[in-house]
Subunit: 307 residues, 2 copies
């Protein structure tokens, strides 16, 4: 499921078509122009308690610098309680239009009769972001992502950024434009990649937008017994600019095994491996040795909100 | 939370004001008139995977004869998959109007703007059935319980009966009347207690309705180290007639500990104890020694549906 997204994301990291900004993000944050800035970002908060405990622990330890939450999923109120107790935790919204697992499904935050093009006959989101691309009406997508933002706010979450679960909002120019429009209205920075051909016309991205130079993500092609090596090499190879490393944390326990049943990629053992590498001394040392500067979306949010 | 319900349920088991039926339920099922009929019923399917695996295991072993599912809760689709794979499993709907835990909350199946009197400002059901009694409009309750039934049917669940989580639908005559009306419309038997003063006027219960003579439930007053003794004594003391023993099964694991955080009664250790007693050889032997006949709601459903 997610692998489709990630491989397509990975293919987008090469071309840079956006005109050079007068100042780099690093300079705008007060760092040397050629700094290696890295957001270590944990996806999928709220999908399961197992994911929440692993991610909260990594946030508490500073092992990840940021995370984002899936508002329509069952443990949203646990994340809201954490967010209220940890107002400095960097938590954004992982806007969600898919429900990818077999026996553990969710649907819209908005009333189903207001977003019928987003739901299947059982009232749940489709499993695949390609279905979203093919069938979701942009107006209903806008309603749903606004409802997710408003529900997060009502629960006391103060999001630092927006991104998109399984990249559903990056699948067509119309959905990407909807996402950018809503993000700007809420004055929130949003995950966007420099040179992404699916982005809205480049003219519509301004110097005030925060655009990532690269994304790093472990895909299904990474050998399971070389997990740590994959991440250590990614850090050694890091280029100057703003990179987001997207990780999926969890515990390989009975809950998460049941959530991810029949799915090895991005499953419970996968998430436990990610957790172990992110909290390992070797990974921490690699960040230090390679002069990596960890940043949060909250810092980037301040840039995005500056008039 | 639930303790309020159960103590109030327990207080209702004494008085019998319904006119004696011409035939007992036992006779209508083909047993001697003075048989001891027992439904062993596991509540709260779908609230957590931990509850589902323990309950599925007990159903598969015949350790419980029936169970009911909370349609608005996160694991509903796992229960639907089980129900479809086990068409003979006796699964009813545990109609739900409360969301009693601290950091794991749910709301209505019906669109929130159609059932505003059922939801708090965060869009979730209240924690306490007394709030339901005080604020829920019967018309909106009817909408919501119909939506729960329709969603279960859409997911492929063929319910054998209806009951009410935390007894919310037993808190006022108006809500009880709504519940009875909807149950009859769907031709489903429903949990009702002989002599319950909160029931609709007794004249409205007919000979065709299945009315329990007693309910057995472990309440907070049961010493935690005398769990098995409580249930063995209940079986030894069982009287002729139709009794439902309501149990709460689960595993004392990290998921269920998180769901039930801050609540010892009906918490994860409680549910593990219930599971252990129900699947124990001593309990099985007590049923046999006391000539208890286990029945299902499906058998009772046939009586209720007979013209």
């Amino acid at each position: 499921m997610q692998s489709l997204l990630w491989s397509s994301v990975a293919s987008l990291l090469v071309v840079s078509t956006l005109p050079a900004q007068t100042k780099t993000i690093a300079e705008r944050l007060g760092h040397p122009a050629d700094s290696k800035l890295l957001i270590i970002h944990a996806d999928d908060l709220a999908v399961a308690h197992s994911v929440d405990v692993a991610t909260f622990d990594a946030l508490d330890k500073g092992a990840v610098s940021s995370a984002s939450v899936m508002v329509p999923t069952p443990w949203i109120t646990e994340v809201a309680a954490y967010a209220k107790a940890h107002p400095n935790a960097d938590i954004g919204l992982h806007l969600t239009l898919t429900s990818e697992w077999d026996t553990y499904r969710w649907g819209s935050v908005e009333a189903p009769d207001k977003v019928p093009s987003l739901l299947d006959s059982a009232g749940t989101f489709p499993k695949d972001e390609k279905v979203v691309a093919a069938t979701a009406k942009p107006l209903e997508v806008e309603r749903e992502i606004r409802a997710q933002i408003e529900r997060a706010l009502a629960l006391g979450i103060r999001p630092t950024h927006l991104d998109s679960h399984m990249g559903s909002l990056f699948t067509t120019p119309e959905l990407m434009a909807t996402y950018v429009k809503v993000a700007r209205e809420y004055r929130l920075p949003f995950l966007a990649l420099r040179g992404d051909p699916r982005s809205p016309p480049q003219a519509s991205l301004s110097d005030k937008d925060v655009v990532l130079d690269a994304v790093i993500i472990a895909g299904p092609e990474v050998p399971r017994n070389q997990w740590k090596e994959f991440y250590l090499k990614a850090i050694a190879d890091l280029k100057p600019g703003l990179t987001e490393m997207i990780v999926h944390l969890g515990r390989d326990d009975s809950e998460l095994q049941a959530v991810t049943v029949n799915h090895e990629p991005y499953g419970s053992a996968w998430r436990q491996r990610d957790y172990e590498v992110m909290t390992s001394p070797e990974f921490r040392k690699a960040l230090h040795d390679n002069h990596v500067i960890l940043v949060t979306w909250k810092e980037l949010q301040k840039l995005a909100q500056r008039p």
